[in-house]
């Protein structure tokens, strides 16, 4: 059974003071559990697309259906709420809040969403145990590690902690914005493999955006933003 979790139709987006559209996507649909690679050069509107899917920005026209709900019609606070409940985010760099410990950073995603907190508790009994379980899968499973300040971590460790945070409470969507571009090539593949494996386990859909086509083979489906986006400038 294939369930449609993301459906974009006739989407157009332009910045308020811009003359032309930055994005124009007539149709894009993603099924539950799919791992989608979206390739795009920097400046092609990747991050903007992710902001639209995350409900931070609203498209100028068109529809974005997430889990069957048109998020463009939700109020600002409902969209924030929706994002907290259903989306885990991984940035390119500096994913962690510097003044919080590893554990506090990971459980933060459950602090803004009771749905995810409940899911995490159902999974492991306590938020700390769930954080530890995820870290263990990501090969950082040392209880001592939880109390560490995040500034002591290597970039690779930071990205794995960020992944654990995104996976906390098994959100339906994991959105990753160039999460590997700051990693060394040997760490990169391992990280990617772990990410995909964890998304499988959590039955989460993964939207992975990168300019690096080298990573493409790891995904079952690959799209190019350039061919997707009809608003490409001359």
């Amino acid at each position: 059974m294939t369930e449609n979790v993301l459906q974009i139709s006739d989407l157009r987006f332009r910045w308020p003071n811009s003359q032309r559209d930055l994005l124009a996507i007539s149709s894009l649909s993603v099924n539950r559990g799919e791992k989608v690679f979206i390739k795009g050069a920097s400046g092609s509107g990747k991050t903007t697309l992710l902001s639209l899917v995350g409900g931070v920005h609203v498209p100028t026209a068109g529809e974005i259906r997430l889990l069957g709900k048109d998020i463009t019609r939700l109020s600002l606070s409902r969209r924030d709420h929706f994002r907290a409940d259903h989306i885990g985010y991984i940035f390119q760099l500096f994913n962690l809040i510097p003044y919080l410990s590893v554990l506090d950073n990971i459980v933060l995603s459950c602090r803004f969403s009771t749905t995810r907190a409940e899911k995490a508790l159902r999974q492991s009994g306590s938020l700390e145990e769930e954080a530890l379980r995820l870290l263990d899968h990501l090969e950082l499973g040392d209880r001592q590690f939880l109390r560490q300040p995040v500034v002591n971590l290597s970039v690779g460790q930071q990205q794995r902690v960020a992944t654990a945070r995104a996976l906390m409470g098994s959100p339906e969507f994991i959105i990753a914005d160039e999460p590997t571009s700051a990693l060394d090539s040997d760490v990169r593949e391992k990280f990617l493999a772990l990410l995909i494996q964890e998304c499988e386990l959590a039955d989460s859909t993964l939207l992975f955006v990168s300019h690096d086509s080298y990573l493409e083979p790891a995904f079952e489906r690959s799209l190019s933003l350039q061919s997707l986006n009809e608003a490409v400038s001359a």
Binding site: S51, V56, L76, P98, Y99, S109
Partner: protein, 421 residues
């Protein structure tokens, strides 16, 4: 729920930036402390000022300014331009409404302390603060010509005991030529501390002052010297005094008597009401007091502007943090609350530490203030003024927090999921 989380985040974030945060809080604490101290000094100085004299209805001196008369007769500052004839003094004090009177004869000194010639009525009738009479720590009022009663500060600072022989000087200079070294005085009494100029005064009898000057003419010693013993045999009835204080039987008569003295025909005299003259003097000094207050307010404004600077500087560093929180579902209004809470926390901690500093220094310095300035500062719970300062500082810090709060709110809407570095 969310609010607790935000407060928790604010605390941890501040702890992470504890050095800059500490300095900012220190700066606010110091200005709060300054404002509290200035107000304490202000009110204590004012009450101590008003405490210098009490119960005296009228002070009479040669015609000059009322503030000047008050200064030399009560505060022992400056000099009289002219004296009053003894006859006038006798005539005025003979008035049936006069209950008591204290003559004051100034002009001599001892090692920088003013000497005041008076009668034993002074120890009986003079009152300060809330109608408190003078008390002897040891000894008694002078009885003979060469007895002296010294104030508490004189005794402490010069280390004088009873039976100490002291040499008075003519005028305020302490040179050899101006010394009345042929007629030494003996300390017969030491007064209790009053916290008024009395503590810095040496009291002798009018006859003693007369004896000192019996062989002086026009500011220098005459050729023919008269010894202390010889002087005692002579007529020591004073011919002039500098001023005198009056206590009346009826307060209703104050203005009548004052007018009568001001219109006294035989000599140009000035009668002042101590309360009124103190008010005049205070309005002069009040300018300095206000300047002090203005400076402390400016210091506070300065540190609050510093707070705004710190908050706006840190905002740029925290844009990343805000984007992360947004990605986790943190709402823009939460971002606003996060930054405003931080600013408010600065204000609250500033007030708290300012108040602690104030109390600690007050506790530590209380005895020092009494010893050095005769200023007893009671340790009391905060009054309306202090609470107003706290309220104002905290409200302002909250308002200041709106600036970075609003900016972060705008950023969080505009930045989206992009991390701006």
């Amino acid at each position: 729920m969310k609010l607790l989380l935000l407060i928790n985040l604010t605390f941890k974030s501040l702890l992470n930036r504890r050095f800059t945060a500490g300095l900012t809080i220190l700066s606010i604490s110091l200005s709060v402390f300054l404002l509290l101290s200035v107000e304490t000094v202000r009110s204590e100085a004012r009450s101590s000022f008003a405490n210098t004299i009490s119960g005296t209805d009228i002070i009479v001196g040669a015609r000059s300014g009322s503030v000047q008369l008050l200064l030399y007769s009560v505060f022992r500052i400056g000099n009289a331009t002219n004296n009053i004839g003894w006859k006038s003094y006798e005539e005025i004090t003979a008035h049936p409404l006069v209950e008591w009177h204290i003559p004051i004869s100034l002009g001599d000194s001892h090692r920088g302390y003013r000497v005041m010639g008076t009668t034993t009525d002074y120890f009986e009738h003079f009152r300060y603060a809330r109608d408190i009479p003078l008390e002897f720590a040891i000894g008694e009022p002078f009885a003979g010509v060469y007895g002296a009663v010294i104030g508490a500060d004189v005794a402490r600072e010069l280390g004088y005991q009873l039976e100490e022989k002291i040499i008075l000087s003519h005028g305020m200079q302490d040179t050899h030529f101006s010394k009345h070294d042929d007629k030494p005085f003996t300390v017969v009494g030491i007064l209790e501390k009053t916290g008024t100029p009395v503590d810095r005064t040496i009291h002798v009898s009018l006859a003693g002052i007369e004896a000192l000057h019996i062989d002086w003419q026009g500011g220098t010693r005459s050729k023919k010297t008269i010894s202390a013993e010889e002087a005692m045999q002579m007529d020591l009835q004073p011919r002039q005094i500098t001023a005198f204080m009056l206590g009346l039987k009826s307060k209703m008569a104050v203005f009548r008597i004052q007018r009568a003295i001001n219109e006294y025909r035989k000599e140009p005299l000035l009668a002042i009401l101590p309360g009124v003259a103190l008010g005049e003097l205070w309005s002069l000094i009040g300018v300095a007091e206000k300047a002090l207050l203005i400076v402390s307010v400016l210091v506070l404004v300065n540190s609050l502007v510093g707070l705004l600077t710190v908050l706006l500087t840190s905002l740029n560093e925290r844009r990343r943090e805000i984007a992360i929180l947004r990605s986790l579902g943190c709402r823009p209004i939460h971002v606003f609350i996060l930054l405003t809470t931080e600013s408010f926390l600065f204000g609250v901690l500033g007030c708290l530490f300012g108040a602690i500093l104030y109390y600690v220094l007050l506790l530590a310095g209380q005895s020092l203030f009494v010893e050095q300035f005769g200023l007893y500062i009671p340790i009391t719970w905060f009054g309306m003024y202090e609470l107003m300062i706290f309220g104002l500082v905290m409200a302002t810090s909250l308002l200041i927090g709106f600036v970075p709060g609003y900016r972060a709110y705008r950023h969080s809407l505009a930045d989206g999921m992009a991390i701006k570095l």
